[in-house]
């Protein structure tokens, strides 16, 4: 039984890691400010959730699991708030969203 749990949790954590890497690649590949933020949100939703789910299976029914759930809730409440204030600050400072016809070269200036 514990071997099955181990395998499931290893698969979940690996998948979470894969999504974190995909998010990081996205942050590098995306043009412009707002599009990079979209890539980063894959990390703190799916990436973090899968890793925490894998860790939950490892720790079982203990106090550590309760702390992991609290951590997950914290990420779910704080990350959109932080993303919104980042986007809002950029918007009120006049950061223009990237347009497809702008070309890749001008995107870094945004």
């Amino acid at each position: 039984m514990s071997a099955v749990l181990d395998i499931v949790s290893i698969v979940l954590m690996t998948l979470g890691g894969v999504f974190c890497v995909i998010g990081a690649i996205g942050v590098l590949r995306m043009p412009g400010f707002y599009t990079r933020m979209h890539a980063a949100s894959v990390i703190d939703t799916l990436g973090a959730s899968l890793i925490i789910l894998g860790l939950l299976l490892q720790s079982g029914f203990t106090l550590a699991s309760a702390k992991l759930v609290i951590l997950w809730l914290l990420i779910f409440f704080c990350s959109p708030t932080a993303s919104h204030s980042l986007a809002n600050a950029a918007y009120s400072r006049g950061v223009k969203p990237w347009e497809p016809d702008q070309g890749a070269s001008s995107s870094s200036k945004n």
């Binding site: 690649i25 979209h38 894959v42 939703t45 959109p80 919104h84 918007y91």
Partner: protein
């Protein structure tokens, strides 16, 4: 109402304290309870114990909304991941304004945060009863403009 609210905050804080500390000896538990009471006492003096800080009334509605939101998050995270690894990076960034039909500030926060939490859409600014949203693709923008999420948040607000 406010008294009930304060008691509920004390219990939530104490439960939080127990979970984080893991101490179950009577002396330390008394100290934990006393500090929860002290925090709520200070919060009441600062006049911040209200429905906004401790939205008990959303409890029932949120239980039906969260599972749907989690499924949406997984679906759109998968879509965005596919876009990222696609060799041509087929994105079509759009800015759009969506109406929000929520009445209370808490409902509006739930809607705006749900938009940001879903990968591929970010709420950029709140303008009266509209949210300015940046979407990664036109398809994602059309999805949001359909108003399914808006209706569900309003329903969850109304059910409470």
């Amino acid at each position: 109402m406010l008294r009930f609210h304060s008691i509920s905050v004390v219990f939530s804080l104490f439960a939080f304290w127990l979970l984080l500390s893991g101490y179950f000896t009577p002396f330390l538990m008394t100290l934990g309870l006393l500090s929860s009471v002290a925090v709520v006492w200070f919060a009441r003096r600062m006049d911040v114990v209200d429905q906004e800080g401790h939205p008990l009334h959303l409890g029932r509605g949120v239980m039906g909304y969260w599972p749907w939101l989690i499924v949406e998050i997984v679906k759109s995270a998968w879509t965005v991941s596919k876009l990222i690894v696609h060799p041509h990076l087929p994105i079509s960034p759009t800015m759009l304004r969506v109406k929000m039909s929520q009445q209370s500030p808490v409902g509006q926060v739930v809607y705006a945060n749900s938009i940001t939490l879903t990968p591929g859409t970010i709420s950029v600014a709140i303008e009266e009863d509209e949210i300015l949203v940046h979407a990664l693709t036109r398809a994602g923008a059309d999805d949001l403009a359909g108003g399914d999420m808006d209706r569900r948040v309003t329903a969850c607000e109304a059910r409470s």
